[in-house]
Symmetry: C2
Subunit: 210 residues, 2 copies
């Protein structure tokens, strides 16, 4: 038998190179040659390991998305008290984003190009539905309790969630746009990240206070 479990090497090298090139250029504009070069292999190897550019892109997308979503949803599905839960979600997401800051932009763009296909793809890889209902149910319960205690105004979980996600992800996904429209250089953006880590949970809770 030839090397069976050995040599994940080349395959992952290709996958990582593809990841870099796809994230850098977008799938449509990416050239298989560039991926091959960056992986240090021949173009035909891409076809050998993955059957086509499309399949390769699929693999990269699934891998990326399952890096970005689970942390956030996981933290939100936990049974921490509301403030600590928000803080956990913020910390988890900021950490994930600092590890791969261009991921949200990439996912956003690819999702826009072909929502249906990628949605199927992700659902096959991650039990999104299930996590989601858990998140909503637990969040709803906590909000109700806070409303009862007079510390929060009535608000649907979606509203809170979207406000949180927007402020967490958008500044990364749109860093170029912010630089262009608001003139924020890298340093200013790092400062903003720090602010979010320290203040965002409190900001949101105050915002939804009665």
């Amino acid at each position: 038998m030839p090397p069976v479990t050995t040599d994940l090497d080349t395959e992952t090298r290709i996958l990582e190179a593809a990841h870099r090139v796809f994230v850098r250029r977008g799938v449509a504009a990416a050239r298989t040659q560039e991926i091959a070069d960056e992986a240090g292999v021949n173009k035909a190897l891409l076809h050998y390991y993955f059957r086509s550019k499309q399949k390769l892109a699929d693999a990269v997308f699934v891998q990326s998305a399952s890096r970005l979503f689970p942390q956030l949803l996981g933290a939100l599905a936990s049974d921490l008290p509301l403030r600590e839960k928000l803080q956990a979600a913020i910390d988890a997401e900021i950490d994930a984003l600092e590890a791969s800051p261009f991921l949200p932009g990439y996912i956003l763009c690819e999702l826009r190009a072909d929502p249906a296909r990628l949605s199927d793809l992700l659902h096959a890889a991650v039990p999104v539905e299930q996590i989601r209902t858990t998140v909503f149910a637990s969040l709803q319960r906590q909000i109700d309790a806070e409303v009862e205690a007079g510390r929060l105004r009535p608000v649907e979980p979606q509203v809170l969630l979207v406000s949180l996600i927007s402020q967490l992800i958008f500044p990364h996904a749109a860093s170029h746009m912010l630089q262009l429209a608001a003139g924020l250089d890298e340093d200013a953006q790092r400062q903003l990240t720090e602010w979010r880590r320290r203040e965002l949970a409190g900001f949101i809770l105050r915002g939804f206070a009665p």
Copy 2:
């Protein structure tokens, strides 16, 4: 002299077709043939009016961006009192977004693919810098006054601005992602837009209150 000011017809028809196709597919994945078909003209006409696909994409981008940014920055540069200013910005932006909901996603994606070129392009078309400094200065003044009056905690204008822009633009730019991750259908998203129009200004001011 041949038709000089007449027949903006064909040119704008091409521009609008290009707009639709670019926004739908993204520039890299868009085919000139599809644009020509959608404009009801021959492919060569694209080259006649605009010199190349690239130039056409540039024109579309500039047009799009100068539809999306000025409203927001204009409202923010006005001399309304803080709360009314925020509300004006929110109304302006939501109106602009309802007219062309896919614009932010498009701009985001194109900006990601080639930030430097598109930044130059926009700066040549819109006096971004100038508007921006006005916005920041006026905002800083108002925040200082509110802090003095004990109605706001000290906060840099950028922080407030990014929080506002994130919550305004992200839900549109990432509508597919939100549908995927948070399960928000079109109706839920419309509801969220309504919430933002009614509540976002108050939400932000409460969030930054002492």
